[in-house]
């Protein structure tokens, strides 16, 4: 339960539709071992700028999200130098976990609207799968609490073996199951729906068929999470270019207009009265994003929801009000998120089956859908797309509402 949230008098409507995503570029992704994170970033940027029909001299802003790669290896200046970006008026590295992609786009959008820059590149790149020989796919994300010589209060996580992000999302998922009766099969339906979408996407890493039986049979990672509740881990990079709306309209691609933007950071106050596992920052982000866009849930044609775990999709649907709190399980059980369903969600297979580029996974597929470039997986009505980001253990939430028209 969060304390009352004071709504500002302004609703942000003056920002609606005044910036757009004008370019999208994706490097090779997945088990690609020939590039480091900075080179993935450079390749994604090259493709995004070319996609927009811009020249590198026109890029005057660069926002960088380095994933788990240390800033020293992936800072903005190194990338700037690699690409010879000599006209930057805006440069920063940002990190609020998986919420960062949308957050970078928000600062970029405000910058181009208010004249701080003209064309801002936002890039995520990472190479957590260091070598083909080294460790399992999630090794880079399993480090939390793993110290051999633990110290301080944080050392308790080591004493009790609470390692990695999986453990924390398992605790959150268990809480939702116990409070609301959510079942493993209901989560499995989300994984199956996303796999069905992935089978239609040439970008997806996992395109083999998957049934609910396969989900049930997949090994435990941390109960109550099966392997197929968890996202992939991928090497690669994705970049977008954010431009003023009127300029984007004259560039090479159909603009993805930014109709609404919002963030919510509820804080991780682990004590009585705070349901940090089952209530996210989404309601705070939603309020601002939808009031800015002048939109309601009924206006949303396609959803791209951050899906580090199946549970993240379920709790996000609840926190946007697509169903009541606690009813996410029954809500998704009829398969409405999958192909042919009434609420097409994560149409590229998401992070569960598509590719794991943090918040760039939902954002990139959102741009593809708004443009109508989804090929076999394109949703027929694609005027308005909701894109969400989630960082940490449900610590950060970010929202973008993208529109085919301003």
């Amino acid at each position: 339960m969060h304390p009352p949230y004071a709504v500002r008098a302004m609703d942000g409507r003056e920002l609606r539709g005044r910036a757009a995503i004008s370019g999208l570029g994706m490097s090779e992704m997945g088990r690609v071992y020939t590039r480091d994170a900075r080179d993935f970033a450079a390749e994604a940027i090259r493709r995004a700028v070319e996609d927009a029909g811009l020249r590198k001299e026109q890029i005057d802003g660069l926002l960088v999200n380095p994933g788990v790669t240390p800033l020293g290896a992936m800072g903005g200046v190194g990338l700037q130098n690699d690409l010879g970006l000599a006209n930057l008026r805006l440069l920063a590295s940002m990190n609020v976990g998986g919420a960062t992609a949308n957050v970078m786009v928000q600062y970029a959008a405000m910058s181009v609207i208010h004249g701080l820059a003209n064309h801002v590149v936002c890039v995520f790149a990472d190479a957590p799968l260091r070598t083909s020989a080294g460790g399992g796919g999630g090794a880079a994300y399993a480090g939390m609490g793993r110290s051999v010589r633990p110290s301080g209060m944080a050392g308790l996580y080591t004493t009790f073996g609470v390692f990695g992000v999986n453990a924390h999302y398992a605790l959150a998922t268990r809480r939702h199951m116990a409070m609301y009766g959510t079942t493993s099969d209901q989560l499995g339906v989300i994984a199956v729906a996303e796999r069905a979408w992935a089978q239609k996407s040439p970008l997806a890493e996992h395109r083999e068929a998957m049934t609910l039986g396969d989900y049930r049979a997949s090994r435990w990672v941390v109960e109550p999470l099966h392997l197929l509740d968890c996202c992939l881990v991928s090497n690669g990079g994705v970049a977008v270019v954010v431009s003023r709306a009127e300029e984007a309209a004259d560039l090479a691609q159909p603009p993805a207009y930014i109709l609404g933007m919002g963030q919510g950071h509820p804080g991780d106050f682990r004590r009585k009265g705070w349901d940090v596992e089952t209530e996210t920052g989404a309601p705070i982000a939603r309020e601002r994003a939808f009031s800015m866009a002048g939109a309601t849930l009924a206006d949303i044609d396609v959803l791209q929801l951050y899906d580090c775990y199946t549970y993240t999709v379920l709790v996000t649907l609840e926190d946007y009000g697509f169903c009541k709190k606690g009813e996410g399980g029954p809500f998704v059980a009829d398969g409405k998120l999958g192909p042919g369903g009434s609420l097409p969600t994560n149409t590229g297979g998401g992070q569960l089956s598509g590719y794991y580029m943090w918040g760039m996974t939902p954002l990139s597929e959102g741009v593809i859908q708004v443009r109508g470039q989804g090929g076999e997986r394109q949703v027929a009505k694609h005027d308005v797309v909701l894109v969400t980001g989630n960082g940490g253990i449900l610590d950060h939430h970010s929202a973008l509402i993208l529109g085919r028209e301003a």
């Binding site: 050392g155 390692f163 453990a167 004590r271």
Partner: protein
């Protein structure tokens, strides 16, 4: 059950009272002298009133099960021969939540919000681990 010792943390300035208390079989928590809020992890500043005036006070040791998981990944040498294992978050009566493990309850009988009481396991001459067992009342 197992011979590999648990990785017991080394105390630092902000946790020494907690670990010393555990050795005395007392659950010690930090409390704000200004507003009285209990806090964990122990940090120099109260997040409620921003005061840095603190005291360590013995807590009741009573709590309820907030959530738990069963770890199947082998991610640390000390746990290689005890995986899978259960870990838990316990909400203390004073308010803060602490990471721990529930003992004395079968895995399929674990229920969230079940009443628990701190138990102290002297794992070596100079280290005690705080776990939680069932509480009758």
């Amino acid at each position: 059950m197992t011979t590999t010792p648990l990785p017991v943390p080394e105390a630092d300035d902000e946790s020494r009272e907690f670990y010393d208390g555990a050795r005395r079989h007392q659950l010690m928590l930090m409390r704000c002298r200004s507003c009285g809020a209990w806090r964990l992890p122990s940090r120099p500043r109260c997040p409620d009133c921003w005061s840095t005036e603190t005291e360590w006070v013995r807590a009741s040791g009573r709590g309820v099960l907030h959530s738990f998981g069963i770890m199947h990944q082998k991610l640390h040498p000390a746990f290689a021969d005890r995986t899978p294992y259960q870990f838990a978050v316990v909400e203390l009566a004073e308010g803060p939540r602490i990471v721990s493990q529930v003992v004395g309850v079968a895995e399929d009988e674990l229920r969230l919000e079940m009443p628990l009481q701190a138990v102290f396991d002297d794992v070596s001459d100079d280290a005690t681990v705080v776990r939680f067992g069932p509480r009758r009342s």
